[in-house]
């Protein structure tokens, strides 16, 4: 299978041949447990683990403070006085916090959570955009030892209701409303529909609009914070956070444990070469695994500055992300393949008018990345205007690495892709790179035999540190549900889900959840399949038999599951 391979000028003297990578990789997976025990030594443990994996838990005899490993570790270093978070909204309001200020705010928010009865082991569900307050509340939950789940605000009330019912949280955090594409998203109204009145709801005043007040609602400004208390020291297997991942029949909870997840997150972020001096912009929201791992945790563990943009990429125009990269001197840009597909179709002048020379690394994820869109990203976003190493950029020659990486909620982090700070092999357009060291990944046929050059099942043959706490996720093998092609150099070319689960603009959506929403709203049984879409990758197709109009179906899905689930309707 002949494939184009590219070494960006930026990595010219760091790239290694595939054979060298294979040697390092096979060493890493020959003894997975020893490999990850070495990586675990990079975390700060209160009790250092001696055992790697036992009873489905990584580093089971280790104890650590997750908060210390994300924020507290920078105390006493130059990072403490450096900007940790730059937050921007659509209207141009900007807030900046140093690590020290973020720590103070998280401590205050920990006091607020404690005052509201949240303690160690209590779930906190967020249905809110990332703002300095909601981010600090998230870190406050980490500080307390309370696991959290961010539910993406693009989901509608039924999706939120299901996730709240599943987690049974002590507290739901929301905002009154927030602006999106120039209009207010009335977040609290969705919470009122989705969350039982008996559940405590904390409302962060974001837009300053009036909202209804139920008997268990409290506004952040009304909370008398208790003492923030110390940082929770937890066992490695203590739940840190969770998400719900889509399966054919509906979403299922996926819960990540503190020790293994943080070891894997810190390792992959370091290997990708994120540094304290980076200004790092991740466009994926914390309601998705990329947003949790590579906005909330990874870059902060390193000490980088993280840019958080609350609004839409096309507001007021499709160059909003380019302007953010330009004005904050962003060096690392993390986004989705789907976003690049959209951006590549906009007026080229919107990109040309911005200088993106500070970029040194672009990472994409979430869905298969067509070679032509990869090339557009590499050439148009990644070339820049300044010489790099010994290469003078000509028009559209490409300059910085555009790394496409495979991630999944259950896997916790990127598990494939080239690693600028570890082992960097040439880029192959359309591929998600080779497996990262420590992840025993293969593509196999239906009989379980390794398949090369033909589509097969993308599987893991050994557990990984961010193994979810739910039982039987790994049962001697883990089938990702994705189809992929693996070439002789172990490069993986994801082909999309082969189990019926739908990827819309990178969002993983369950057909069963769509069927349930339509049944709930309209009382009709439908069948949901999927079809390829040139822009959104896939779209759900709802087959109905009489009884409901297509507009009713589309409207019901939009209201119950949210604007991210835009369906096509066909008659059976």
């Amino acid at each position: 299978m002949a494939r184009e391979s590219v070494v960006p000028p930026y990595m010219k003297y760091k790239a290694v041949p595939a054979a060298e990578f294979k040697r390092l990789y096979s060493e890493s997976v020959s003894d997975i447990y020893a490999f990850w025990m070495r990586e675990a030594a990079h975390l700060r443990w209160r009790v250092r683990p001696r055992r790697a994996f036992e009873g489905g838990v990584w580093f089971p005899d280790g104890y650590l403070s997750p908060y210390e490993n994300v924020i507290g570790r920078h105390h006493g270093t130059f990072m403490w006085d450096k900007i940790a978070i730059i937050w921007e909204d659509e209207s141009g309001e900007v807030r900046a916090l140093t690590y020290s200020q973020l720590d103070s705010l998280a401590l205050r928010m920990a006091g607020a959570l404690r005052a509201l009865g949240v303690g160690r082991g209590d779930w906190v569900v967020f249905y809110a955009p990332p703002t300095p307050e909601t981010l600090a509340l998230t870190y406050a939950a980490v500080r307390i030892g309370a696991p959290f789940e961010h539910v993406f605000t693009g989901w509608g009330w039924l999706a939120l209701a299901r996730r709240v019912a599943s987690r049974r949280p002590r507290l739901v955090v929301t905002v009154d409303a927030f602006p999106r594409r120039g209009k207010l998203v009335r977040t609290k109204n969705v919470v009122d529909k989705a969350v039982p009145e008996g559940v405590r709801v904390l409302v962060v005043e974001r837009a300053g609009v009036s909202v209804s007040r139920r008997r268990n609602d409290i506004f952040l400004s009304e909370v008398e914070p208790a003492d923030g208390g110390g940082e929770a020291v937890v066992g490695s297997g203590h739940p840190l956070f969770g998400l719900h991942a889509a399966y054919r029949d509906g979403p299922r909870p996926v819960t990540h444990a503190a020790g293994g997840y943080l070891v894997q997150t810190y390792a992959t972020t370091r290997w990708l070469g994120i540094r304290p001096r980076d200004t790092y912009f991740c466009t994926v929201m914390p309601g998705w695994i990329t947003g949790v791992t590579y906005m909330l945790f990874g870059p902060l563990m390193i000490g980088a500055t993280v840019v958080v943009y609350e609004g839409g990429p096309d507001y007021p125009q499709w160059d909003r992300w380019w302007s953010i990269i330009e004005r904050y001197a962003v060096t690392v840009f993390v986004t989705t393949a789907g976003a690049m597909r959209y951006l590549s179709r906009q007026d080229p002048e919107l990109l040309k008018k911005h200088n993106l020379d500070t970029l040194r690394l672009i990472i994409t994820t979430a869905e298969p990345f067509e070679g032509e869109i990869w090339r557009w990203t590499y050439q148009y976003v990644g070339t820049g205007t300044v010489p790099t190493v010994d290469s003078v950029p000509e028009r559209l020659t490409g300059r910085v690495p555009v790394i496409h990486a495979f991630i999944q909620t259950e896997l916790g982090t990127f598990v494939t892709g080239q690693l600028p700070n570890y082992v960097f092999t040439p880029l192959k357009p359309g591929s998600a790179g080779p497996p990262m060291p420590g992840f025993y990944i293969d593509v196999v046929d239906e009989e379980g035999r390794p398949a090369r050059g033909i589509p097969g099942r993308l599987i893991l043959k050994a557990p990984w540190p961010a193994l979810p706490l739910e039982p039987k996720v790994f049962d001697g093998i883990y089938d990702t549900g994705d189809a992929a092609v693996m070439d002789e150099d172990l490069y993986i070319y994801p082909q999309g889900r082969r189990d019926g689960v739908i990827k819309i603009n990178g969002y993983r959506v369950s057909p069963g959840e769509i069927e349930e929403a339509i049944k709930t709203a309209l009382g009709v049984d439908v069948v949901v399949e999927k079809t390829r879409d040139p822009l959104r990758f896939e779209v759900p197709v709802v087959y109905i038999r009489g009884g409901a109009s297509p507009d009713d179906v589309k409207g019901a899905v939009r209201e119950l599951l949210g604007p991210i689930v835009d369906v096509e309707v066909r008659s059976m």
């Binding site: 006085d81 450096k82 900007i83 730059i86 921007e88 141009g92 309001e93 900007v94 807030r95 900046a96 140093t98 200020q101 001096r277 200004t279 500055t305 302007s323 330009e326 004005r327 904050y328 001197a329 060096t331 200088n355 020379d357 500070t358 300044v386």
Partner: protein, 199 residues
Amino acid sequence: MPSAGGKSAGLRLNYGGVVLSLRDYAGAVAEYRGESLCIDVLRPDCHHVFYTHGHERHYGGYAGEFHAPFRGNVIAGTVVRAGPFRVLVIDAYNITKVAGGRPVHSRGEGVGYVIEVAGIVMYHAGDTDLTPQMLEVGRHDIALLPIGGDGVMTPEEAAEAVKLLRPKIAIPVHFTEARHYVKFRDMAQPYAQIMNIKS
């Protein structure tokens, strides 16, 4: 609170409860708990008004009360109290930018200001080169540095100032051409968080 006045086409930075925005060519407005302070805003509407010098891109003939070296009520080394703001006056002048054999801005003609409010320290450098006095500013959170090279630091000199001053945030002012910003940004990025809140 009065609106700060002046032409604003930028963003509003909230740092530690102090809101900073840019106006006109090199002007800035700091707001804290309902009080505002303008520096080099042509038509200001702030509680406290300061000018770094009298050139027309900085001073637009404002007739109200204000502090400025050309009015004789500020001089380098002195401190002015303005509501919640403590304003230290710093020299600002040219060493290498010369017109007709004289510095474009002579020493004593212009100043910069170090504004402290609620524990946040901001330094508006005024129209200046990289001077020895600038290095005595001390620890500060935000530096507003002129970068256009037109009677002020060039982008390279301003980046050198960032390396020496090490503010947490460096905001470029006093420039019109994007290439000046890009040059400054690319050189200064490793040493401070750059924020171009003008656009």
